[in-house]
């Protein structure tokens, strides 16, 4: 496939290297001359100098073909947003993935309809949360566009769900238990499955229902 990567910092460079290794056709756009010179040494004609938020530069990179995928991964959130909008709305690029540098800007990407985003900071915080769960509920996967997330919850001895069957639980609408991890084995959660302390539950739910789910499972 054909991919335009906007931003040749650590992220853009590594992604380009992997994509090229996989045999994809890539154009990597970087605006800083010093960075571009290094990128050109490694990638040759794959690297291109220019400001990827300029329509003319994007056109020279082949935005009108249009590419199968555009990755807006510069270190500037506003730039990534504008690149995504021009690619999507101006040239009908179907897949655009934008990097969010400052997690506080995530809401702007959501508001402006750029739904495929990656945020390293949020990702790292998610991992920290996984290691040090503070609220009893760990977010494993978030499908923003689909309005769905997958979370993990551990049943404690004093949890309201301990000793109950899955069928007896008063789960919020739009949520469902998928599986119960017990002694290193995963069981599919069915109505008759009895929950015991130490069980790790996987659940799917609509974003925003975390508190209700938490109440139903681990905190009365």
């Amino acid at each position: 496939m054909y991919v335009i990567v906007a931003g040749g910092g650590k992220v853009g460079k590594s992604v380009t290297r992997s994509l090229v290794d996989m045999g994809h056709e890539v154009t990597l756009v970087e605006q800083r001359r010093d960075r571009y010179t290094q990128l050109e040494e490694e990638f040759g004609h794959v690297a291109m100098i220019g400001d990827a938020t300029e329509i003319g530069v994007l056109e020279r990179a082949g935005i009108a073909r249009p590419p199968d995928l555009v990755l807006a991964v510069t270190g500037d959130d506003e730039d990534n947003l504008v690149i995504s909008q021009i690619a999507r709305e101006g040239y009908g690029v179907e897949k655009v993935v934008a990097r969010v540098n400052d997690p506080r800007n995530q809401q702007h990407f959501d508001l402006l309809g750029i739904t495929q985003t990656i945020c390293a900071t949020s990702g790292i915080l998610g991992l920290v949360e996984h290691e040090v769960p503070e609220h009893g509920l760990i977010r494993l996967l978030e499908l923003r566009r689909e309005g769905l997330e997958v979370v993990e919850v551990q049943v404690e001895p004093d949890s309201p769900s301990a000793g109950k069957t899955v069928g007896e639980l008063d789960l919020p609408d739009g949520s469902r238990l998928i599986s119960v991890m017990r002694d290193g084995r995963a069981l599919v959660a069915v109505g008759s499955t009895v929950l015991t302390p130490g069980d790790q539950l996987l659940a799917i739910l609509q974003p925003g229902k975390e508190d209700e789910l938490r109440k139903a499972l681990i905190r009365a």
């Binding site: 506003e78 504008v82 709305e89």
Partner: protein, 144 residues
């Protein structure tokens, strides 16, 4: 009527002073505290230090009940994003955004943004100025 001016540089500050003189209740927002100096000692409007991408800062500047917003920071993409956020999140209809790059200004104008492109204005005005010069046409050859 209330206006929030985001980016209090040469352009933003002059717009703020103009609107205030016309009776608007104006609050300026800039990352740098020194920008307040541009408004002069007699400034009676509001001034908030912070980044226009920051929702808290926008709220502090009173964006929620503003009738108009002027976005004139020194970054085109920052202006474009802030302009859309202000328009969509707070439903402000009158949002005027400075975009120096003519192509981007045009792209977003077509999508309903009130963009103002000083570059395009300069091109038109300067071209007209050249046209208006009184230059005598060359003498036709062979006339003498």
């Amino acid at each position: 009527m209330k206006a929030v001016v985001i980016g209090c540089g040469r352009v933003g500050s002059a717009i703020a002073l103009q609107l205030a003189a016309e009776g608007w209740d104006v609050t300026c927002l800039d990352e740098k505290e020194e920008a307040l100096n541009r408004l002069g000692a007699g400034w009676r409007g509001g001034f908030v230090v912070g980044h226009g991408m920051d929702i808290e800062v926008l709220r502090e500047a009173g964006i929620e009940d503003a009738d108009a917003a002027v976005v004139a920071t020194d970054g085109d993409n920052t202006n474009i994003v802030i302009g859309q956020v202000v328009q969509k999140r707070y439903g402000i209809e009158c949002v005027v955004v400075r975009v120096l790059d003519p192509l981007r200004a045009d792209f977003y104008a077509k999508r309903g943004m009130r963009t103002v492109c000083p570059t395009q204005t300069a091109v038109s005005v300067m071209t007209d100025a050249v046209r208006a010069c009184d230059i005598r046409p060359l003498e036709p050859t062979g006339a003498a």
